[in-house]
Symmetry: C2
């Protein structure tokens, strides 16, 4: 793969920022990488492990002369970041992000970015429950989808270049509006995280069942939820604060459906339960067929270690 | 490991029954294994792949001369099965089961079993989303917990022998009452499955988001839920019909907690969200430390395949 950009600025060096650095280096997508992180420890570590060629204490300095700027911090920081970098951006630069919500990014960052840059919000649907500069790896985006939400009037050449970038990272690219993105992600990502956080919290608060019992017997299913409930709290707080309407809509539907299941259990309606449980299998098969999960039993965790 | 039993009868040859067969063979825990399955196809397959030495169309025949009888079919079948095998059981035989509920098993199977056998209900907290005679493997129980719920007056020698059996299968053994078991599993297994089935159903019913979008973008978290929602529908129908009170209790608490989260989102209470999301990480760490899940990011699924 040939070089697509002279200088990529990564604003935020956690899981996504560090993974981007690895894949940019591996595929030779940029001549050099500059970085910004709020914490001293992250900046130091990013230099140590070679994530960036130069690291800055100010985002504005990091974006100087960058032809691709990627916001990789929690979405709650985007407004202030955009305000900060706005005057320092190079004319013709592409500015994008990796945030899990899109309408709020357009609302918060958009007004601070000059008309001379190409602002194209984006969201790679990829991640793990880990965070921080050491958690990244080059394959994170391989065969995952990246959603781009260009604005009306986005420059087609800039869009094509950003698509080429994500494809070079191994991703498939889908285009949609910010509003539709937020609805799709509310069900495929935000609600699952909310429910996972919630059941872990419910379990921790029980009086009749000890935490030790919850932990020992978690292989019955509970442990699956704890993985995504171990995701970064700041990032997820910002997601829920910034995709309120879509999350509340999906949550309302989920709760209605759960009430119907609750009623079926209370009244012993085995047929309703059986029918609902049966159709779920097909969706898992489709996800595996689409290459979005492993077919190995138990996610391929393998035999447990003693 | 030396032989513990002369003849083990496996009533049901799905994931658990076939895994038991593999570990019994591997560790030499019994001289021979007889089997019973309701379906002709399962019986045929069980013989083909050597799960059993002999297979029968009647459970009563399968248990003849067995000194260990293990009920491995969905818990809704246990009453009729116990009625069937009651008169055919050998004096002094140990009768146990692997059902995910315990009080209902005591209620349904207990009355049909003669006083001359040792009835000790049990539940290995192990499984995958797969089912059927080909899904088993010898390591399924390794480093997992098996809960036994002996009844008042259970014979201590029979209990010791059953504990030795499960330890030989690689499990740790915990003793508790059937009622406490049902409460613990309601939160660590039954509620997680119910919620997973429910969110998959909610997602499938959306008008604004297509099934294809749900599948493509499932790596955002949703796919984690589809694994346990692909579990055997008959087994899970029977679990919910037979642990109604404990499941409704846990579901009530879950829904209350979810309403509080919903309210925090609606009112933009970021501090509440952040605090709740933060404490979940500790529980995941404890589960990993207890050897009940892998520490590898993404359950160690590894880079996706194209």
């Amino acid at each position: 793969m040939s070089k697509l950009f002279e200088r990529v600025a990564l604003l935020g060096l956690g899981l996504i920022g560090s993974s981007l650095s690895h894949v940019i280096r591996q595929k030779g997508l940029a001549a050099n990488i500059t970085g910004y992180a709020r914490s001293e420890a992250t900046r130091k570590r990013a230099l140590e492990i070679g994530l960036v060629d130069r690291v800055f204490t100010s985002a504005a300095e990091a974006v100087t002369e960058a032809d691709l700027v990627i916001l990789c911090s929690p979405v709650g920081t985007y407004g202030a970041l955009a305000q900060d970098i706005g005057p320092a951006l190079m004319e013709g630069a592409i500015v994008t992000d990796v945030g899990s919500v899109k309408a709020a990014v357009v609302r918060d960052a958009g007004p601070h970015l000059p008309a001379s840059v190409h602002f194209i919000p984006g969201h790679p649907i990829a991640g793990t429950e880990q965070s921080g500069p050491d958690s990244g790896f080059a394959e994170l985006f391989a065969n995952r989808w990246c959603i781009l939400t260009p604005l009306p009037g986005s420059n087609p050449e800039a869009l094509a270049k950003l698509i080429a970038f994500w494809k070079a990272c191994g991703s498939n690219v889908e285009i949609m509006t910010p509003e539709h993105h937020d609805l799709v992600l509310a069900i495929t990502s935000h609600l699952p995280h909310l429910i996972a956080y919630n059941i872990v919290s419910t379990a921790a608060d029980l009086e009749e069942v000890t935490d030790s019992e919850v932990i020992k017997f978690s292989a019955g299913g509970f442990r699956d939820f704890t993985r995504i409930a171990a995701s970064d709290p700041t990032m997820w707080r910002d997601v829920f604060l910034n995709n309120k309407d879509a999350v509340l809509e999906m949550l309302g539907r989920f709760s209605e459906d759960l009430s119907a299941l609750q009623r079926a259990i209370r009244w012993g309606d085995g047929e309703m339960l059986f029918n609902l449980f049966t159709r779920s299998r097909q969706i898992r098969r489709s996800i595996i067929a689409a290459g979005q999960d492993t077919a190995a039993p138990d996610f391929g965790r393998g035999p447990p270690k003693g």
